[in-house]
Symmetry: C2
Subunit: 337 residues, 2 copies
């Protein structure tokens, strides 16, 4: 595309016009290196006259910084990636840092290609994100020459990693239901093999006590329907609240209850987990749910990777970020103060 080369003034042009080497021109413009004041100001005058715009790549070569970050993601639906990405970008854009998004689709070969391409472009750091805190990405990021921050994926020992505080989110849901006077609170959640499922269920059990009842299943509306059938077809007293492991399950639970003629939220309160708006807002009634604050988590990941890239000391280990209860209509209770 001839437009580009014809309109862009390069450092080579400045050096030639000023009668100095490229290295000298570069140093003059960056106020580094040793030269006479006369030479430095001559180079700057020539650069200004030619309309030279010091470019990021040239600066990067000189400073060994590219002002780019790579975000590796293993989440094809975008449920986690997009809010995370928005937060990362928000933390970095004011610093002039741009983000490469690399979706690896659980494919080790693809992951390797993306990582090599990022290293080749000398990213200042990498944020590795997944969907599960108990699974590693299918690529080894230890011993890279750039810092790595992990988000929602298993980090190596001494890695810096960010997750949401599942246990605290779970406690918050149960406390909200108790505060509404609910006494028979059941937990309907995803597969037991997920660490976050065990974490949430453990906190639920601790908050509810001896009457705790957990139904493990899949992350689907279908499972919400099945769980309600199991609970309502059983003998004995019915639950007056259901705390669900994600919003899809909660939507299935709400639909199943409505179809049985159970009144929400008069007779039963339902809380979800995720605050996935497309699901939570379309549920009838709209879901009260736990938000993992993924955008803030992304911001924190961005801040951490920049700090590491700048050589600042960052303590390794897992950082748990707070969740927030978002009140809609599926539980009763007014907006929170």
């Amino acid at each position: 595309m001839s437009i580009r080369t014809s309109t862009r003034v390069r450092i080579y042009d400045v050096a030639a016009a000023a009668g100095v080497s490229i290295a000298t021109a570069s140093k003059a413009l960056n106020d580094t290196g040793r030269m006479t004041d006369e030479t430095r100001s001559r180079v700057k005058d020539v650069a200004a006259r030619l309309g030279f715009r010091p470019n990021a790549m040239a600066r990067a070569l000189l400073h060994q910084r590219s002002f780019t970050i790579g975000l590796l993601t293993n989440d094809t639906y975008g449920r986690f990636t997009l809010p995370l990405m928005a937060g990362v970008s928000e933390a970095l854009v004011d610093q002039g840092v741009s983000v490469f998004l690399c979706a690896i689709e659980d494919d080790p070969a693809l992951a390797k290609i993306h990582v090599d391409a990022m290293l080749d472009k000398q990213v200042d750091g990498i944020i590795a994100s997944g969907k599960r805190i108990d699974r590693q990405l299918p690529v080894d990021l230890e011993n890279l020459s750039v810092p790595v921050v992990y988000a929602f994926t298993q980090a190596p020992e001494n890695g810096v990693s960010l997750v949401s505080d599942d246990a605290a989110g779970s406690r918050e849901a149960v406390e909200w239901l108790k505060g509404l006077g609910r006494q028979r609170i059941v937990h309907v959640t995803g597969p037991r093999s997920f660490a976050s499922v065990e974490e949430r269920a453990g906190a639920y059990r601790a908050a509810v006590g001896a009457d705790a009842q957990v139904l493990f299943g899949t992350w689907s509306e279908q499972w919400g329907h099945e769980a309600v059938a199991r609970l309502w077809d059983a003998a004995g007293e019915k639950p007056d609240a259901i705390f669900c492991g994600n919003d899809q399950i909660a939507r299935g639970v709400v639909d199943a209850l409505r179809e049985r003629g159970v009144s929400l939220p008069a007779d039963v309160s339902v809380v979800g987990f995720d605050n996935w708006e497309i699901v939570a807002e379309a549920t009838r009634p709209p879901l009260t749910t736990i938000d993992m604050n993924l955008k803030e988590l992304g911001r924190e990941a961005g801040r951490l990777v920049l700090a590491l890239a700048a050589g600042e000391a960052v303590a390794p280990g897992i950082r748990k970020l707070p969740c927030t209860l978002v009140v809609r209509q599926s539980c009763g209770g007014g907006p929170r103060s």
Copy 2:
């Protein structure tokens, strides 16, 4: 982070060890410029001995290519962005091209910052994507020094742009319903102000003929419920098929029909538009729907921007890419041959 500078051998190191200027070292390694064979091979030997890895930025400075592309997006939900991004990435990753993702959230100031950051990093091209083909992004991309390809957003005159073929998708839905023997096909769709709504409605009317009936509303499940109430509460014969403008409307329609005791697909067939799997698969019964092939659209956008960056001739204008009918259970009819 001292790891980086200590482990990375720079072109400066190679030049110093070989006793040549940086420019000469760079040219020697890239097989350009004029020098003796002895000098060139000495530089190469030194580079190999030091473990110098010619880096993308150095290559970029020399060739005026950065092997990066920017994807500007105005879609915060990720409904369009993620599949598009996956396609773009697929088309580019093998060429060593990485993608900057820049979410601009309809904010002109943020868009300007992202565009400046991309130009500063000398991207080889930009793909600008939105949610509506009749709205421009809130940033002017004309007269940039890099090529731009538009996807799902309004392009300037003489721009290169990609959209899905809404009219053909609409025809395909109607023909499928007719092939199942449906005779009273109604179209329930989004707001009239969207160009894609008019395009789909126009093709629907042309395919259905005199009996065509279009209900315009919002892109929501709620509107699906309202539309069914309006149709079923009216006097006269009921529809035996409803073609919906998106999957959310279709999900509302299906739920409303089930709650009225209408049997799907025995009495009424429902077709959606989008193939947004999170919605289409959870609908009971799962939705037959039109897929816009966003990933393929992304691949094509990637191929076009690379071609433009390489200086190839690309005809301006709007390219309409085909849609595909995805058959599930909401219409009856077996899988398509």
